[in-house]
């Protein structure tokens, strides 16, 4: 196993960096999209509620692998070309937006309505109420769920290997078929994923504690 790491460590690390970059980008792009969808659901306007509900139902109701394949092949069918990495980020973003919107909806509902009523009476705009009153409180409530979504996203990013993005799973496949040592190669990839998961979970706990004490100092 050590010789395998010694020979392919750089390639695997490169794959790991791609995994993290793609997942991070999708998480960030999915965030405003998710907030937008959550707000549409909470708006009470029938068309907005139905549209965002349909969006959520599709992206949560179909396998991410199939979603990625559709996002990858659809532009080609329309005569466009899309770099696999970009297709991967788009696919993962559209998917995580649906899941994130559910988290934001629950978080926003948890902030008592009276707080935004008080803000409205003081002349704060809707935008200011969202950014200064609702989101800062909602973020604290939503943090554990968001960390969970980030973990899922990193796991899901392993599937962009099927559209030839050279993230860590794809790299492992390449190494496994070149060295004929699949067991060790995939074990190394597995350990990498577990390490990321552990680090992320730890960071989440740390952040949670930081936020909890920030409201108290």
């Amino acid at each position: 196993m050590w010789d395998l790491i010694a020979q392919n460590g750089a390639v695997l690390l490169d794959g790991l960096a791609v995994t993290l970059a793609i997942s991070g980008a999708a998480l960030l792009v999915g965030c405003p999209l998710g907030v937008f969808l959550a707000r549409a659901t909470l708006s009470g306007r029938p068309i907005a509620v139905a549209t965002s509900g349909l969006y959520r139902s599709f992206w949560r109701g179909t396998p991410i692998l199939v979603q990625l394949l559709i996002v990858f092949y659809l532009p080609a069918a329309l005569g466009l070309t899309l770099v696999p990495t970009i297709a991967a980020i788009i696919g993962l973003s559209l998917n995580t937006a649906a899941f994130q919107s559910e988290i934001y909806r629950a978080g926003l509902v948890a902030v008592p309505a009276g707080q935004s009523e008080a803000a409205r009476m003081l002349g704060l705009s809707r935008r200011a109420i969202l950014l200064r009153i609702e989101l800062p409180q909602a973020v604290r409530l939503m943090l554990p769920a968001l960390v969970g979504e980030a973990l899922t996203l990193i796991k899901n990013s392993s599937l962009v290997s099927v559209i030839a993005v050279t993230e860590i799973t794809r790299r492992a496949q390449q190494i496994a078929s070149a060295t004929f040592r699949p067991l060790e190669t995939y074990a190394i990839a597995l350990i990498a994923y577990l390490a990321i998961a552990a680090l992320l979970a730890g960071a989440g706990l740390l952040l949670e504690r930081r936020l909890a004490s920030a409201g108290r100092s």
């Binding site: 139902s57 599709f58 949560r60 109701g61 179909t62 396998p63 991410i64 692998l65 199939v66 979603q67 394949l69 559709i70 092949y73 659809l74 080609a76 069918a77 973990l151 796991k155 899901n156 392993s158 599937l159 290997s161 099927v162 799973t169 492992a172 496949q173 496994a176 040592r181 699949p182 067991l183 995939y186 074990a187 990839a189 597995l190 994923y193 577990l194 998961a197 552990a198």
Partner: protein
């Protein structure tokens, strides 16, 4: 689209059936393996509790595709040669078991202490309390997240395509190779998954309502 369905409808139907069968098999494995795991998680002895916890965290932190690669391509290295379907069912089942164990554990823990104490005061033994109070009460609490997890397994089963199991996503890929157009096959697959997921969610809602009636 009409001719597309005429030509490939049968293929898709068979593949859809395969997806449903494999998911159901994986679900059974997951739900059963999770039982001793959940008890292990609740064990007083760390010799049992720690390995159970490690197993759960391993399954929840690992991408299914890596687990499948390990089982299917890595298995032969130590003499375990599985055909794709078996590897797929085992992978789905062992992966799902990690999640189900956590669901069971949370359900068992959520039964209010007062109900357990009430039973103890009435002279029921610990075994009787577990069997007649804790389990039935936990079952109701477990149902909604268990349905959610079943839906996840159904969706995750698409990953079996990468180890060549001829399920829905795999067949959609093959049809797209035949027709040189990927969109119609993959959209068809997505639609079928969507229908199955919605049906499962509806069934879950109905079951929940049915159980809630028994509450009063």
């Amino acid at each position: 689209m009409g001719t597309f369905l005429e030509t490939y409808g049968g293929l898709f139907a068979a593949a859809f059936a395969t997806t449903l069968t494999l998911t159901a098999a994986g679900l059974v494995v997951a739900a059963l393996v999770a039982l001793p795991l959940a008890l292990g998680l609740r064990s007083q002895s760390w010799l049992i509790a720690v390995p159970a916890r490690l197993y759960v965290e391993l399954m929840r932190g690992a991408p299914l595709v890596i687990l499948l690669f390990l089982a299917y391509y890595g298995g032969p290295s130590f003499g375990i040669v599985l055909d794709a379907e078996t590897a797929g069912i085992a992978g789905l089942g062992l992966y799902g078991a990690g999640y189900f164990a956590e669901i069971y554990r949370a359900g068992l823990n959520a039964v209010p202490r007062g109900e357990i104490e009430a039973a103890a005061v009435l002279g029921l033994s610990r075994g009787q309390i577990f069997l007649h109070v804790r389990i039935p009460r936990a079952a109701r609490l477990v149902l909604p997240p268990a349905i959610g997890q079943a839906i996840n397994l159904l969706k995750e089963s698409a990953v079996l395509s990468v180890i060549t199991v001829p399920e829905l996503t795999k067949v959609a890929g093959e049809v797209s190779n035949l027709t040189f157009s990927a969109i119609a096959p993959y959209l068809t697959a997505a639609l079928l998954y969507w229908i199955a997921v919605e049906a499962l969610a509806r069934a879950g809602d109905a079951a929940e309502r049915h159980l809630a009636v028994g509450k009063s």
